[in-house]
């Protein structure tokens, strides 16, 4: 195999995986703690992207420097988490933690559908594109191929930082430890005085912020348009399911596998590129139905 081609496919795979991982991270965190597969995660991703484009567009029209888009991305993500994620948990999910999983899935799916229409109402149907921040970072030429610094360097760095940051948060801070304890055994945690409702709310908001951040970070690279959330939820679910639901480090690894698989497919067999994430998922789940890193759980019922 030609080394140059191999390296190029590697770069493309890593930068793609970084973005998928950031979105999958929030999804798997929420599932790990709350045992809810949040389909509305896709909408939060899309709204994060829309909010970033609107805020950045506004800031640029006021004469701000493109680099200011970075704090605006963070602000958009936090707004998505607090203003949309928070109410979803408090008003809807809190009522259904003890209900069957099918119902939980239906409720988050309903939220997803509602939010899809909300996006259409607010932002219309025409695609948006706002890449000033990506262009401000410039390009880098590797092996005769030009990459954007944003996609080749920044996105993977952010993904690694988020992975390490979340690990640190869960294992070395009080709030993180409360989350871990509640994940381990909710009733036991409550019996020693942990406020499980608060932990769930915190988790859901953090997960929603991660979805919004994924959208915010994706926004300079892609057209923002209705339906973008549906694609992302399917792909990040493939990542999360392959890793084993709730496995954070596993999600990083499977995102990488899927990203690399896809980019190598585009180099060597473009016809199957679309299939690759799902082929990997099927192959893994055939051998390990609980996912690569999942452990077989005792069924509640």
């Amino acid at each position: 195999m030609n080394v140059t081609i191999f390296l190029l496919a590697l770069f493309d795979g890593v930068s793609y995986a970084a973005l998928v991982f950031i979105v999958a991270l929030g999804l798997t965190l929420i599932f790990g703690v709350m045992r809810i597969l949040n389909v509305a995660h896709g909408s939060l991703y899309a709204i994060g992207a829309y909010a970033t484009v609107s805020l950045t567009g506004f800031a640029l029209s006021m004469g701000a420097a493109p680099i200011l888009a970075f704090p605006l991305m963070l602000i958009s993500a936090v707004l998505v988490g607090l203003l949309i994620g928070g109410p979803i948990e408090v008003l809807l999910l809190r009522r259904i933690y003890n209900k069957p999983e099918v119902l939980q899935l239906l409720v988050t799916f309903a939220v997803f559908m509602i939010l899809e229409d909300v996006q259409r109402l607010v932002w219309g149907t025409q695609p948006y594109f706002q890449s000033a921040v990506l262009q401000s970072l410039g390009n880098i030429t590797v092996l005769g191929v030009t990459y954007t610094v944003y996609q080749l360097i920044l996105l993977p760095l952010v993904a690694v930082a988020l992975l390490l940051g979340l690990r640190f948060f869960l294992r070395h801070t009080l709030n993180g430890k409360l989350i871990l304890a509640t994940t381990e055994d909710r009733e036991a945690a409550q019996s020693i005085g942990i406020d499980a409702d608060r932990v769930f709310l915190l988790t859901f908001i953090v997960g929603a912020i991660l979805a919004g951040l994924g959208g915010a970070l994706a926004s300079p690279t892609t057209s923002i348009l209705p339906g973008m959330g549906a694609d992302m939820i399917v792909l990040s679910f493939a990542v999360v399911a392959t890793a084993g639901l709730g496995q954070i480090e596993g999600a990083a690894l499977t995102a990488l596998m899927i990203g690399l698989g896809r980019s190598f497919a585009i180099y060597f067999w473009p016809e199957i590129a679309v299939l690759v994430p799902y082929l990997i998922m099927v192959l893994v789940l055939l051998v390990r139905p609980e996912g690569l890193f999942g452990s077989p759980a005792a069924r509640k019922i």
């Binding site: 140059t4 081609i5 190029l8 496919a9 770069f11 493309d12 795979g13 930068s15 793609y16 973005l19 259409r120 219309g124 149907t125 025409q126 695609p127 594109f129 890449s131 990506l134 262009q135 390009n139 005769g144 191929v145 030009t146 990459y147 954007t148 996609q151 994706a218 690279t221 892609t222 057209s223 348009l225 209705p226 339906g227 973008m228 694609d231 992302m232 896809r262 980019s263 585009i266 180099y267 473009p270 016809e271 590129a273 679309v274």
Partner: protein, 429 residues
């Protein structure tokens, strides 16, 4: 006895009264268009344009004094919902004429349904050339071109402005249009310039948010020409990412649907790329921009929507123009009285009408013959986005497969001399 006789006479006379129908209170039209989903980049402008055009038509007295009333059906709801809405609008909604559809798949579903329901239907925007090549319809007409002249115009323009290119790669959406348009384009290219080497064929999935890997691959392959018949958000993303990473400095892009993305792409589409418009559709149409009706509409459309028009706006105008011209011809053929459905259908064949573009003629197989406009992008500074220069307007009749011919076979039998005999009007800008 006398009463009975009168009633009998009345009953016998009833069927014959079709020849002298009273004018209806209104002419009801049902139009399918994408109001949701990715293709709403075409569907919503077309609806906005139709609203303006119908209001103007009715202000000017409608068709022979009869106002036109348009109701819309969302194609984004899926083929099944669309079929039942279509049926409902015809059977209980009283639609006299239907305009359907944007999606080729929907056209293929609805054309036989319109035939069953015996309702005149205009294929007002869809591209597939297969409809009249594989079927014979009485009630179905196409008020615009099909994929064959659209792709042929792109091939010929490319060969005219860049005759010496050696390699080409394609990046099309992975669905019927992406595949079919590549079939026609590559068949025509191989027929007219057999020495071209196709170095890459990529069909990323419809709605793909990222083409970074394809662009890296293209940068390594360094093709002279990159073709993409993508549209909407997919095309915007592809062009933006290619432009960001300098691919457009090394390869010439051929983008047969980019007219519909010019305004959204802004400065991201650099000069020197080949742009098509699925017909002679361009808000600065060189042969129409000085005409009063064209200017008035463009101003009104821009004021109402805040955007310049795109090709689907022209296609909407053509469907309405065909409706008006068809009814006027049928009325004239019918001695000045309102025609019935079959008289209207009979009038449609061979009809010539003019929307916002050049005149369009309906051929014997009900296919519309429409001129094709191609140009090269240029950033002049007059607009905050790319406009076209070195424009060629092709005669649609010469680029459309003859009646009864199958496009891919007809195109495959062409050779380089085909280009020489074409009548092409050229404009600097």
């Amino acid at each position: 006895m006398k009463k009975l006789l009168l009633t009998t006479v009345a009953c016998v006379a009833m069927p014959m009264m079709g020849f002298a129908l009273d004018k209806p209170d209104s002419l009801k039209v049902g139009m399918t268009t994408f109001l949701t989903g990715p293709a709403s980049v075409f569907g919503v402008p077309a609806r906005d344009a139709m609203d303006i055009l119908v209001a103007n038509l009715n202000d000017a007295g409608g068709i022979d004094g009869v106002p036109v009333e348009v109701s819309y059906i969302d194609e984004g709801a899926g083929a099944e919902a669309l079929s039942s809405e279509f049926r409902r609008m015809v059977e209980t909604g009283g639609a006299d004429v239907m305009f359907a559809a944007i999606s080729s798949g929907n056209c293929q579903t609805l054309a036989p349904l319109a035939e069953d329901l015996k309702v005149p239907n205009f294929l007002w925007d869809c591209g597939t050339q297969k409809i009249f090549e594989e079927h014979d319809y009485k009630y179905v007409f196409r008020t615009q071109a099909n994929a064959t002249p659209e792709m042929l115009a792109a091939v010929i323009y490319l060969l005219k402005v860049k005759p010496d290119f050696k390699t080409l790669a394609v990046v099309n959406q992975d669905y019927a249009w992406g595949r079919d348009s590549w079939d026609i384009f590559s068949t025509a290219l191989k027929a007219m310039k057999p020495d071209v080497e196709v170095v890459g064929e990529f069909f990323p999935k419809f709605g793909a948010p990222d083409f970074s890997t394809e662009i890296s691959r293209l940068q390594a392959l360094r093709p002279d020409v990159v073709l993409s018949t993508s549209w909407g958000g997919d095309l915007d993303t592809f062009v933006q990412q290619a432009s960001q990473r300098g691919l457009m400095n090394t390869s010439t892009f051929v983008l047969p649907l980019a007219e519909s993305s010019l305004e959204r792409l802004g400065s991201a589409l650099p000069a020197g790329q080949i742009v098509g418009a699925r017909g002679d559709h361009y808000f600065l149409h060189p042969e129409r921009r000085d005409d009063a009706d064209f200017k008035a509409f463009m101003t009104e459309y821009e004021e109402k929507t805040g955007s310049v028009s795109v090709y689907s706006v022209f296609h909407a105008s053509q469907a309405l123009a065909a409706l008006k011209a068809g009814y006027e011809k049928a009325i004239a053929d019918n001695g000045g009285t309102w025609p019935d459905k079959d008289q209207f259908v009979a009038a449609m064949e061979g009809l010539t009408f003019q929307g916002l573009g050049l005149p369009v003629t309906i051929r014997a197989d009900h296919q519309g013959i429409e001129a094709q406009l191609m140009g090269t992008s240029v950033q002049t500074g007059d607009y905050p986005f790319a406009t076209l220069e070195n424009i060629m307007v092709f005669d649609g009749a010469e680029l459309t497969a003859p009646v009864g011919a199958v496009s891919t076979e007809w195109v495959g039998a062409l050779d380089a001399s085909f280009m020489d005999g074409l009548s092409i009007s050229t404009f600097d800008k």
